[in-house]
Symmetry: C2
DNA sequence: ACCACTTTTACCCAAATGGGTAAGTGACGA
DNA sequence: TCGTCACTTACCCATTTGGGTAAAAGTGGT
């Protein structure tokens, strides 16, 4: 099954895969919210899933499918390579994560490998995941503070939003800066955005 | 001519376009630095160009082609829709700017229109350009300061980098905040990143 | 019971930041 | 020549921010 919202890309991918004798695209869609229903109907061996989808995002679609079919084999295939996206995709149960500029032989090889139950991660992706694991993870509250920070909020505004004291906000920021290994709020915001911890727009 | 570094997308686009009786992909490449040479050889009626290309970026490729062939008709076809990317692409001489999720009939229509010499901008893109024009533009120096700001530099660090006083940096920041309509450096950095004025990575 | 961690608050103090005002230079065009 | 604008510097002052230290309360696991 192929889930991607670019018609041209789908068409090309179908042609590419169908030229392999042992691979076939049985169903395709551009809508994440359709993915689960189509999976139920067709029970494909492997799912190729883009992360940026209109309506339901790719990660949610993966989770929905794997909630009902825990043995579903999903390969993430996307243009974006932001750390947090990769992490969430793997967390949600994806077996592999490929960027769209992957050469076609590697692509076919990965599909076959995943189909036989293996998990394949290109070294580039594995490195990112390792980096992500190395990064101390943030507590719930720290994430909330960081999120408001990346919206340009001041300490006072953050404290009001979260119904806590400004002193508390500052305390969170101290640990936050240490964990992110930055020296001030601007750097923290930039890192958070670049690493995909928070999303703009 | 089709310039895009995703083989699957190219394949799909070729199939899509060749199914139109009056359209044909005469040459394709995934490398921006090859684009000029291929253009010289084939003189295509219209160029479809992705902006994110390995090696030479899409904008540079467009400029290189239009420097030698000022009548070249280029349509930008990309996944990214950041304001500044759109602006630079149009500045560099692109006749149209489409996102990759454009339905195929609109795509074919745009290619024909551009071929007859027209310039076509989708509503969405036109709005972005208008917004960009509304935005007060920054002076050379202000852009430099903003760029360092988005790297997390402090006023003192910025002043050292630019060989000016910290007071001067603060003066630039004052006008910068006013022009960007933000209240502090963090907001300025966030806006600059979101609007694509500066690029991460 | 004890430890580790999160969340919360507080206080002190130094440094960085932001706003206001003023003013000199040089360049460019009316 | 005059006005505008970019760039530069300076000073004053209020606010914000960040670092250090401390500690209470709650949670969850060993």
């Amino acid at each position: 099954m192929l889930v991607d919202d670019h018609p041209a890309f789908r068409k090309g991918m179908v042609a590419l895969l169908d030229s392999e004798p042992d691979l076939r695209v049985v169903v395709e869609t551009g809508d994440g919210s359709e993915a689960l229903e189509l999976y139920r109907q067709t029970k494909p061996d492997v799912v190729l899933m883009d992360l940026r989808l209109p309506g339901m995002g790719g990660v949610e679609a993966i989770m929905a499918i794997r909630k009902e079919f825990s043995d579903a084999r999903v390969i993430v295939l996307t243009t974006f390579d932001m750390d947090e996206d990769i992490f969430r995709a793997i967390q949600s149960g994806a077996k592999s994560y490929l960027l769209k500029d992957t050469p076609e032989d590697e692509l076919a090889g990965t599909i076959r490998a995943v189909h036989t139950g293996r998990e394949i991660l290109p070294q580039k992706v594995a490195e990112r995941l390792a980096a992500r694991r190395r990064r101390a993870d943030l507590s719930q509250r720290e994430t909330e503070v960081l999120s408001l920070l990346t919206k340009g909020r001041s300490n006072k505004e953050i404290s009001n939003s979260l119904f806590i004291t400004e002193d508390t906000v500052k305390a969170h920021l101290k640990t936050l800066f240490a964990k992110l290994n930055v020296k001030d709020r601007t750097e923290a915001a930039i890192n958070a955005i670049r690493q995909g911890i928070v999303h703009l727009e």
